[in-house]
Symmetry: C2
Amino acid sequence: MIMSKEKIAVIGAGNLGQAMAGHFALKGHQVSIQNRSHSKIDDINSRGGILMKGVINGLAKMEVASYDFADVVPGRDMIMVTVPASSHADIARKIGKYLEPGQIVMLHPGHTFGAFEFHNTLLGMGIDTLITIGEIQTSLITCRLIGPAEVMASGIKTRLPISIFPANHGFDKAELLFKIYPTSVKAPNVLKTSLENLNAVVHPPVTLLNTGRIDSAVDFLYYWEGFTPSISHVVQALDAERLLLADALGVEVITLQGFFASAYPTKGEELWEKIRSNEAYRKITAPKSMKTRLILEDLPTGLVPYSSLGQEFGIPTPLCDAFIDVSNAMMMTDFRKEGRTLENLGLTGQGADGIRYFAETGKRIKRSADYAD
Amino acid sequence: MIMSKEKIAVIGAGNLGQAMAGHFALKGHQVSIQNRSHSKIDDINSRGGILMKGVINGLAKMEVASYDFADVVPGRDMIMVTVPASSHADIARKIGKYLEPGQIVMLHPGHTFGAFEFHNTLLGMGIDTLITIGEIQTSLITCRLIGPAEVMASGIKTRLPISIFPANHGFDKAELLFKIYPTSVKAPNVLKTSLENLNAVVHPPVTLLNTGRIDSAVDFLYYWEGFTPSISHVVQALDAERLLLADALGVEVITLQGFFASAYPTKGEELWEKIRSNEAYRKITAPKSMKTRLILEDLPTGLVPYSSLGQEFGIPTPLCDAFIDVSNAMMMTDFRKEGRTLENLGLTGQGADGIRYFAETGKRIKRSADYAD
């Protein structure tokens, strides 16, 4: 397959950032990569690229590896953001001034309402809406760093939804992804990827209901030991809340059960059996502290927006709220304040039609003082 | 000290029931004891009494040990109920027909609104209010069964509040307890003991936030390992909800911090330090299943009535609600329906004054169809 060379910037040089940058470069594209902390960038420059192992192989040379956004963003066709979703707004504020009309920012993953938040942050900076923003439902590559600038890619995920905001910008600027990941699915809009934020219904309950041993830094396998039948009931009930919200928004989404049944070879009927027979999860260990992305990322960019949707539509979300409230007390913070809500996205009172219209066009049916179009 | 002999029935022959029956008998009273399952009663009859060890010593002979309420309740001055609080209503239904005017039923412990529930259950059976009902805040004796009809009493607790319902019946019928446990405190009414249900603010969070290892039947020390700093924050915040409810009811209660500081020799400033330096807790192991009294008892007779009070007074109780909702999903039940609420106690809309008046007199300011006085 012949592909035209594209210029791609990758923001973040963690596991996923390096894997994506490496894969793009090995496919012949010109890649720049940025990271805030210097060590990862220094590692890449010392090695002269990123060494890919596993299902993707080779030393992938970077055009630029830098701590400075000014070095990596300008002139790129696509800017892929691989930092935790809780930092999306911060990244928007930092790269906003370097963005150029016609570029696409791809949030990988977007979690819930990532594109909305990114767009609104740019809007707040006076940057117009000619920037297209994409969301990928979860990570395209299963990978981890195994050394300095050295990535083990253990699998490429199939059938992942990718969405575009505003949807009426179309998929032109994301075609590259469908060439490299041909089974990926073109989602009708970002509501699909936002409401298929499955991390939000798995990570907070599994993490919080294992607080005792995580907070004691006890060794255990996060999924294979931590996902017990009692916890399974709670995760299922939380997923049911997500399905009601998606239904109210008129978005067709996969169930958590359905996702595990189709995405991995698993055994058993019950969710806990599927999770605890998933070989891809076998070796995943639990965090050693409650200050983990499994809470700090998945609450503000997952359960908080879900709860906010529930409030808008009059749909009770007792379990979303339970995990937010327990985490608020535990972390002595207010995740509702720092998280993504319809209120801070300027979308309260728009109804399902208004939110869909916004996803489609980037325009609000009702304008508020804060958010003109 | 010379005491007149009293006739006492003890309902329940678990750890606490046998300890109390043994202690009463060794103090010279005539004691009958009842238990639903036959083995404990058979043990007592085989041994010819209850063998007390530790801080209370001797073979305590029972007047009667029987499975049948008819053998143990009639003619007694005090009927002490030591079954889990979640069974109080069931016990009321079973012993109601044997109760005689002038008797006192002592709920040990009463948890939240135990006396109200017991009274209302009798009322529903057409039994008038000449029965006095007492609540003890928590167990008077720290004890456990170490063999058939053999109890180790490791300590007698001091300064425990005991209350009477209706308060205007006075303490006459409970004087026996103050003779045997002279540091016990006469609480102004059952609202004091009900709002000092501290189990409710400790057990559900500690248990649920350790679900992973409890549900996996992992060995660990419930308090010394399970009560981590992160969990401590949550328990503190839950206790703050209880204090606001007590304040709204006009009841002075001890804080959880204050309780641990005064009840046990402990170290440290933080709640988790106090708990994890409490020698009385050192050896307490965790349950091996989530089907434990720490949830099944403490939710319906603790967090559910607390949440109900919050609803009545417009005081948010997010953490009470969080633990109820998570437990509902986990156990696939509805603890709000089976638990004690102002609604099913016939006390909605009475306000703080009305609830206090009820505690004082057993009469409702506003009558409903279900609850005439």
